[in-house]
């Protein structure tokens, strides 16, 4: 018995030996020379050197500006009011009335503030394409100058309402913004800002194409079904922090690879089943074949 096994194994044993020894030597050499192999347990110090990591995922700055400086408000130029008026009469007055007093078809805009008008016009939601459904973002019909002129005209009719905010991203903090975003915004816009459907044909839109000013305007004015966050709910600095985090979400660190639209387990499940199991079943088809 033993001699039978010896004979069988002797045939395999010979040529394998040098390969095996070579592999072992190479492997141990690699381990011995491996850089900073001693560091293993993570800590909270954030000392990247501990892990030998040289990647570039360090993102943004921790710089925190003085409170309130992250957000300033735009002063509109009164000289543009006549130009704004002509644009308004041409494009908006048919529904909102010549002096923005509102009609049966559209609401009164007086006293809503420049930020409200600016948000609706600059995101292309106004003029409205189809009054029966929720206004959607589309390319604006106006240039920035034209939009500001309309803003100036409407806000000149009646005082009140928030002015157009201007975000200084250099003075805002995305870490504080994350906290505010997850508390106040994620419930509708999802934690990744991808947006989702609310009840009765209402949608919380994706935030990825909104500009800093538009995000701040939306927070302050609460367009459509969105709640309104005034200065006593969210301070100017908090709005700036929030905007910085939303801007981060437009192009977040996707260290894991393809992001699958940032909609979470739904797409992940489909990929797992269709791509993962699917390709393995094809491999199985190759290996196992069909019934013979």
């Amino acid at each position: 018995m033993s001699s039978w096994i010896s004979r069988k194994l002797a045939k395999i044993n010979g040529p394998l030996a040098p390969v095996a020894v070579g592999t072992l030597v190479a492997g141990f050499g690699f381990i011995a020379l491996y850089p900073s192999a001693s560091s293993a347990q993570s800590n909270k110090t954030g000392n990247l050197g501990n892990y030998g990591y040289t990647g570039s995922y360090l993102y943004g700055s921790n710089a925190q500006g003085k409170s309130g400086e992250g957000l300033t408000y735009l002063k509109l130029n009164p000289a543009t009011i006549p130009y704004g008026q002509s644009l308004f009469v041409e494009n908006c007055a048919s529904c909102h009335g010549v002096s923005a007093q509102g009609t049966s078809r559209a609401p009164n805009l007086q006293g809503l503030g420049a930020a409200t008008v600016d948000f609706w016009v600059s995101t292309g939601r106004m003029p409205l394409a189809d009054p029966s459904v929720q206004a959607v973002q589309k390319p604006s019909r106006f240039t920035r100058t034209q939009t500001l002129a309309i803003d100036a005209y409407v806000s000149s009719i009646a005082p009140g309402g928030p002015a157009i905010p201007n975000v200084n991203l250099g003075l805002s903090n995305e870490s504080a913004g994350e906290s505010l975003f997850s508390t106040n915004c994620a419930a509708c816009h999802t934690i990744t800002g991808a947006g989702d459907a609310l009840a009765s044909g209402v949608f919380a839109p994706s935030l990825y194409s909104a500009t800093s000013t538009q995000i701040a305007e939306a927070v302050r004015t609460g367009p459509g079904n969105m709640p309104r966050f005034g200065p006593s709910t969210l301070s100017d600095q908090q709005v700036a922090d929030l905007v910085k985090y939303v801007n981060y979400l437009k192009n977040p660190i996707d260290r894991g690879g393809i992001a699958l639209g940032h909609v979470g387990p739904v797409t992940e499940g489909f990929v797992g089943i269709l791509v993962g199991l699917g390709s393995l079943m094809l491999a199985g088809l190759w290996i196992g074949g069909r019934a013979k």
Partner: protein, 299 residues
């Protein structure tokens, strides 16, 4: 090439031939293994340089895939595939074996069976041991529910504050605003979380008997969904509805958060609130009913 095998019983088996003339497949197998080796070297280099998830994943794919394809191709194209036939054994034991087994079993039972009292005692001691010793384990896992599910930390006069701890005044929310609030002594509490919504400027009565519960258009509801306990955070201002993100229950804010759509069975409990002499928002009392999802003891 043909090998004749001879096993230890001395019987000569029909020989199994190896598959010949498969030079192409041999090359494929060799190439697969070589690709794998190269990718492994690349993986080593990548680790050395600090690693990068996508590079690691791609190289792992090539490394493992190379080995896999090589092995499968080797096993599929370079060795005979048969088909070979193997007989099944009868799973059921032979009648004599079954009889012998039953005989042994019965012999043992006969030998034990003479002392039925000892057997019962053994059962009692082991069973009791098992049952009694579960209790310290079970009881240490957590407290009894008692009244915990019926109450919340809210009580009369509790100062209502935001997540940041700031008291709420009449000006805190604009009309159409929403904020998550807590009693000042339980900020961030999972059970006491409450949504504060401002629906207008004047006092609002959601339901008869709640005439004083909505001062200056402020309404406060428990944020815990009555369906499965998720935070009901989606406020649709135009339709005055609260939507639960988990299972899409919809509550009508103006009429006491009654469920109008989806699986939630009960309204969100409303917190009676008032503005004190300093203008800070306070709770008139705690919730008048248990908050959150249903449970057995709740009548």
């Amino acid at each position: 090439m043909s090998i004749t095998e001879r096993d230890d019983s001395g019987a000569s088996h029909p020989a199994i031939e190896t598959v010949e003339g498969k030079r192409g497949y041999e090359l494929v197998v060799a190439a697969s293994f070589m690709v794998s080796v190269l990718a492994t070297v690349g993986l080593g280099v990548s680790y050395w340089l600090g690693g990068q998830p996508q590079i690691e994943g791609a190289l792992l794919f090539v490394t493992l895939g190379g080995i896999g394809i090589g092995m499968v191709a080797w096993g599929k194209y370079l060795v005979p595939q048969g088909p070979y036939v193997q007989e099944r054994e009868t799973l059921k034991s032979e009648i004599l074996e079954r009889e012998a087994f039953l005989e042994s079993l019965e012999r043992g039972q006969r030998q034990l069976g003479r002392r039925p009292f000892l057997g019962k005692l053994l059962g009692l001691s082991v069973g009791l041991f098992g049952i009694i010793n579960i209790f310290p384990f079970l009881r240490s896992l957590g407290p009894q529910p008692k009244k915990a599910l019926f109450t919340t930390p809210w009580k009369a006069g509790a100062l209502i504050v935001s997540v940041g701890g700031a008291p709420i005044t009449v000006d805190t929310l604009e009309v159409g605003g929403i904020q998550t609030v807590f009693p000042s002594y339980d900020v961030g509490g999972a059970i006491s979380q409450t949504v504060l919504i401002r629906i207008g400027d004047t006092n609002w009565t959601t339901l008869p008997g709640r005439e004083t519960w909505g001062p200056n258009g402020y309404l406060a509801y428990s944020k815990i969904c009555t369906h499965a306990g998720c935070p009901v955070g989606l406020y649709q201002e135009l339709t005055q509805q609260l939507l639960c993100p988990c299972h899409q229950s919809l509550f009508d804010v103006l009429t006491g958060a009654t469920p109008v759509f989806g699986p939630a069975p009960r309204p969100l409990p409303q917190l009676p609130i008032y503005f004190d002499s300093k203008g800070n928002l306070r709770a008139q009392a705690g919730y008048d009913q248990p908050v959150g999802p249903g449970f057995w003891e709740r009548g």
